[in-house]
């Protein structure tokens, strides 16, 4: 079935022949993006309602549980805001390499290394340091650790053309075991699966009486602004976007893909490391075993829903945080495991792709890797 397009074959690579077909022309008239987003959301709710029913629970109870669990009282609202900050940071870690068409699926591991750095520096640095000094130093330590860890797959990709998907996935597990080592061997806290608590002076302040929310959300929003500035207004950001748009043209324009790859991954690692700092300094005040609810992976969904825009990611992160935190009340509210939240998030992102709210472009006629 070979049809040459009326304009003739283009000079480079295989062409996609244009076939006039009434059915397909109809299909091209797509619904507006926000309607497709709502449809995906609706589809997620229907799918989950059916599943919940099959499990013998009431979908209404699930809805109520997620509502009260996420925004029903000051404690839960605080948890949702804290989680928004964490997911925003991991979303930045995904968005920056994705802008260069690089797959960072190692946000989970980079975040873990950041959390380790926060816990260790929050324990080892002098307790006598004032908060205004200790807090930023611990944050910077986490971001540096995350950046270094992120640089590894970047370098391996740039130097050896090693699939960043495989390397980042593997390095996640290396990071988990490093965390387990720190928790159980280096700074164990009795029989609890966590390290000793970090110095109170390294904790992010909770300035509001009666609320449990710390200032981490503002740190995360500041990070989003910085990420937006880097992507949109700097030479590095331009290079990242240029490679994402067309790697060959970018190279011809004098951009060095190898260098940008390492820089993009380091930057991503720094933001993932920040997520680790927000968890340790803000939420937990120590390093916990299994502290992450797939935050690194969910951050990929957050970034994609926001179309890789760091500022939109703020709203996107809040939406995912409501689902994530709300699901924690499912056991009490509907007799279901909080794991239902995982299914909801995954179904939503997949349906967003089916509805083509999240779209991908692929280099034509090129190798996939």
């Amino acid at each position: 079935m070979s049809v040459i397009s009326p304009t003739g074959p283009s000079s480079s690579g295989p062409t996609v022949p244009e076939m006039p077909d009434v059915g397909d022309l109809k299909a091209r008239r797509e619904l507006p993006g926000w309607i497709r987003t709502l449809l995906a959301l609706l589809g997620t709710f229907v799918a989950m309602a059916v599943l919940v029913r099959v499990l013998g629970a009431s979908p209404v109870d699930v809805g109520k549980a997620i509502y009260t669990g996420s925004v029903g009282n000051p404690f839960n609202i605080s948890q949702t805001i804290i989680t928004t900050g964490i997911l925003l940071a991991t979303a930045l870690a995904a968005a920056i390499p994705f802008s260069a068409r690089l797959w960072n699926v190692g946000g989970e591991g980079q975040m873990t290394i950041g959390a380790i750095a926060a816990a260790v520096s929050g324990l080892v640095l002098p307790e006598s340091w004032p908060s205004w000094l200790l807090i930023p130093v611990v944050i910077v330590a986490s971001m540096l650790a995350g950046a270094l860890y992120g640089a590894i797959p970047g370098y391996l990709k740039a130097r050896f053309d090693a699939s960043e998907i495989v390397t980042t996935l593997m390095l996640n597990f290396v990071a988990f075991n490093a965390a387990a080592w720190v928790i159980f061997e280096v700074f164990p806290e009795g029989f609890v699966q966590r390290t000793e608590s970090i110095h109170p002076t390294a904790e992010l302040p909770r300035p509001w009486e009666g609320w449990f929310v710390d200032i981490g959300i503002f740190v995360a929003i500041a990070a989003a602004l910085v990420a937006w500035f880097i992507i949109r207004k700097t030479r590095l950001g331009f290079s990242i976007r240029a490679i994402g748009a067309n790697a060959r043209t970018a190279r011809l324009a004098g951009i060095l893909p190898a260098r940008i790859t390492v820089q993009a991954f380091s930057l991503a690692g720094a933001f993932a490391g920040l997520a680790g700092a927000l968890i340790v300094q803000g939420r937990d005040h120590s390093l916990l075993q299994d502290f992450s609810a797939n935050f690194g992976f969910v951050g990929i969904g957050v970034a994609l829903v926001a179309r890789l825009n760091p500022l939109w990611a703020i709203g996107s992160a809040a939406g995912f945080a409501i689902l994530r935190v709300g699901s924690n009340s499912l056991q009490a509210g509907a007799g279901l495991s909080p794991a239902v939240g995982e299914m909801m998030i995954a179904t939503f992102v997949i349906l967003l792709m089916v509805a083509k709210v999240i779209k991908f472009r692929y280099p034509e006629g090129s190798d996939a890797h």
Binding site: M1, V3, P14, V16, P17, E18, M19, P20, D21, D24, A27, R28, W103, V105, L156, F160, A162, S163, I165, V166, T167, L169, M170, L171, N172, F173, V174, N177, A178, A180, W181, F184, E185, N294, F297, V298, I300, G301, L304, L336, S337, A339, V340, G341, E342, M343, M344, I345, A346, V349, I350, M353, V354, I358, F360, Y362, G365, D367, A368, H369
Partner: protein, 309 residues
């Protein structure tokens, strides 16, 4: 001290740990050869493991559990194929999200129905005469049906990919889908069975995991074995028999943590290092894998000519 008993135990455990990786990697090889990257293999294994444990616990039959795993692989393989092939969703994101979905699904079902229960396991198989062979006899007598199944699968997948018309056509869909379509083949019809069959084989990896341990399910019990399988496939250059050999290496590496725990000379190295070692080796292996060439169309959804994107 490294005693003979310890060395034998090391190989027994190493081979048991090899089997799930072999099966997952064989399934992934079929799928990838047709041009679809299934990062969701981890989730497929997890669901297969749950299905085996669920049937093993509720029905008390290990073999029926294996059948259930294959059935779960076929069903979720069909769903994934629909997403990857018909809807053309991005394979990497879809796969990752499917893994999260699988964690959620199995976690929910596990806590509701079979939390904390142990089920059926498979016993060792006696091959006549092998008992008299020193070492090998003792190691092999501890291995169950899944090892032999994996062994047969390796030959079966090798035959399928290299010696059947389907294998040839599927590979063409993975390399030059446009050319395949021009030659009168249907890329989508070739990719569907590859994804579904790949998932069915990979879900057996989950069965092997359950049936060689307690017969019960533990949330997240695959612990990245599906991802290791992705690395093994690259390392073996998509050749089924080499997958078997490379996975053996990874099984032994995973078994090192049990060996190291018994050797006082290695006590100064933290236990977590040994657990992390297979993942580290996968990174190194992918970095230094000489001349691994991915199927050219891997990861790119195929859109038929004229189809709206």
């Amino acid at each position: 001290m490294l005693t003979e008993a310890l060395a034998i135990a090391f190989f027994v455990i190493g081979i048991q740990l090899m089997v799930p990786i072999v099966l997952a990697a064989l399934g992934e090889a079929i799928t990838e050869k047709s041009g679809v990257l299934n990062v969701g293999v981890e989730g497929i294994m997890l669901i297969g493991a749950f299905a085996t444990a669920f049937i093993g616990i509720t029905r008390g039959q290990a073999l029926l559990g294996i059948v259930a795993a294959v059935a779960s692989g076929l069903v979720f393989g069909l769903i994934l194929a629909y997403l990857y092939v018909s809807r053309g969703t991005d394979q990497i994101v879809t796969g990752l999200m499917f893994n999260i979905f699988a964690v959620g699904l199995t976690g929910t079902l596990h806590s509701r129905y079979i939390a904390g229960q142990n089920g059926e396991t498979l016993g060792g198989i006696d091959i006549p005469g092998i008992q008299s062979v020193p070492w090998v006899g003792e190691i092999m007598s501890k291995q169950n049906l899944m090892l032999y199944l994996a062994f047969l699968m390796a030959f079966g997948v090798s035959y399928l990919l290299n010696h059947t018309w389907y294998g040839l056509y599927a590979r063409s869909a993975g390399e030059r889908p446009m050319a395949a379509e021009s030659g009168g083949l249907h890329v989508r019809r070739l990719r569907y069975p590859a994804v579904i069959a790949g998932c069915a084989v990979a879900s057996l990896g989950g069965s092997a995991l359950v049936l060689s341990t307690s017969g019960g399910f533990v949330p997240g019990m695959t612990a990245g074995r599906g991802f290791i399988a992705l690395g093994v496939v690259v390392l073996a250059k998509w050749r089924p028999l080499w997958i078997f050999i490379h996975a053996f290496g990874f099984g032994l590496t995973q078994a090192l943590q049990f060996l190291a725990g018994q050797l006082t000379a290695l006590a100064f190295i933290p236990r977590q290092f040994w657990v992390a070692l297979p993942y580290l080796i996968t990174v190194l292996a992918v970095v230094f894998a000489p001349g691994s060439r991915y199927p050219a169309a891997l990861g790119i959804p195929y859109r038929a000519a004229g189809q709206a994107s």
